[in-house]
Amino acid sequence: MTGDAKAAIAARAARELRPGEVVNLGVGIPNLIPAFLPADAGVFLHSENGVLGVGPRPTEDELDPDLIDAAKRPVTVLPGAAYFDSAASFAMIRGGHVDVAVLGALQVSAAGDIANWAVPGKDVLGVGGAMDLVVGARRVIVTMVATSSGGEKKVVPECTYPLTARGAADVIVTELCVFRLRDGELRLTELLDGATVDDVAAVTTAPFSLDLDTEEVR
């Protein structure tokens, strides 16, 4: 998968975010999203290591070892930003006060189950805030390429990888399409970049319904 495709996924995911929303961005594709947010997007970025109001990457002069995001990258903050401790930060997440979490996944099931932290047979030694975010955020947007680098299809009838949480995904954005979980059902709501339903079906083992007509323009 090319960087261009990943950027396209990020660009489409960026359009899911509404002014005023508090958004937590995971590592990988989600971290490309800020580049696609318009200047007046009005989105507040939350990082679970204890900051609300994350700004752009710092210049050399702005670098501060005490100011990082959850991916441990140096960041800046915008006016009106706040710092808080990890218990308070996760209280925001777990209490339902973060509007959107955008994150990558290894598999998403037809019921919205997410597997994004562990591969069977490998070490399961790092979970970080993944489980907290997918359970606590009001809306969970999964951004991922439709197949793994090994060719495995990722939108599946049932997750076979260790679960992060059940029924947690609300939206899935791949390079081909947008899926939405509505009424407990996986629906294909938008085709991207000239993809066809057949293109999507070819890389999707989960059953899904077509709901293209009802997709709202945002």
Binding site: P19, G96, A137, A168
Partner: protein
């Protein structure tokens, strides 16, 4: 997400967060549970309470507040109007009219130890569905609650205390709704700001964006839906 914690209205744009007290209390509907900050009247959102008394018809309310005001002051005014069906508090006794209303069968009282009260409100804001505490175990206030011996000590399972609307007071707010509380006027306000679907903050003073030290913001703006200036 699989689980709904508290569902506040998505944060509005900056400009519209500041509203009149009357507009703010219009978010309160009959039958609602309303949290009101303050320890006695210190740190109580008096402008919002007065607006609720004078400019709202919402009745049959459940009030979550450490006290039910004082006679004819703060929530004591709402009590006199007969609009409070139930109180959840640690100390009704500070308003003799609240005690009289309970005895007359006009006010349903749920008494909670003050620390459990604060912790249960925090729990609601933090997505905690229940917690075990030794406080209250074996007393009248544990009646009807699940008990469990943990480490040889009796504990009681307490549930979170949630609300539809929280009315809080902060000495300072910036235009996004970040809040800073002064001295002992802080009390229950920060926890309550996290525990309701809709949080209205009354601010004594509005400061420009950046006017609050980022490390010293007590309530980050994601908890605040509406801002009202103190009258």
């Amino acid at each position: 997400s699989a689980v709904g914690g508290n569902r506040t209205v998505p944060g509005a744009m900056t400009a519209s967060r500041l509203v009149s007290a009357a507009e703010a209390v219009a978010r309160v509907h009959s039958g609602d549970t309303v949290m009101v900050g303050g320890f006695g009247l210190v740190g109580a959102p008096l402008t919002l309470i007065d607006a609720l008394v004078d400019e709202s018809d919402a009745t049959d309310l459940t009030i979550v507040s450490n006290n039910i005001g004082e006679p004819g002051r703060g929530l004591g005014r709402l009590l006199r109007q007969g609009r409070i069906r139930r109180g959840i508090s640690s100390y009704f006794t500070s308003n003799p009219e609240a005690v009289a209303a309970v005895n007359a069968g006009e006010l349903e009282a749920t008494l909670v130890p003050q620390g459990t009260f604060a912790e249960a409100i925090r729990a609601a804001g933090a997505g905690i569905a229940g917690f075990f505490t030794p406080v209250g175990a074996g007393t009248l206030l544990a009646e009807g609650k699940e008990e469990r011996v943990i480490g040889g000590v009796a504990h009681v399972l307490e549930e979170p205390i949630r609300a539809d609307v929280a009315l809080v007071y902060a000495a300072r707010a910036d235009e996004l709704g970040n809040l800073w509380y002064r001295r002992t006027a802080q009390n229950f306000n920060p926890a309550m700001a996290t525990a309701a679907r809709v949080t209205v903050a009354e601010a004594g003073e509005l400061v420009p964006l950046g006017g609050l030290e980022p490390e010293s913001i007590h309530t980050p703006h994601l908890y605040v839906d509406h801002l009202v200036r103190s009258a």
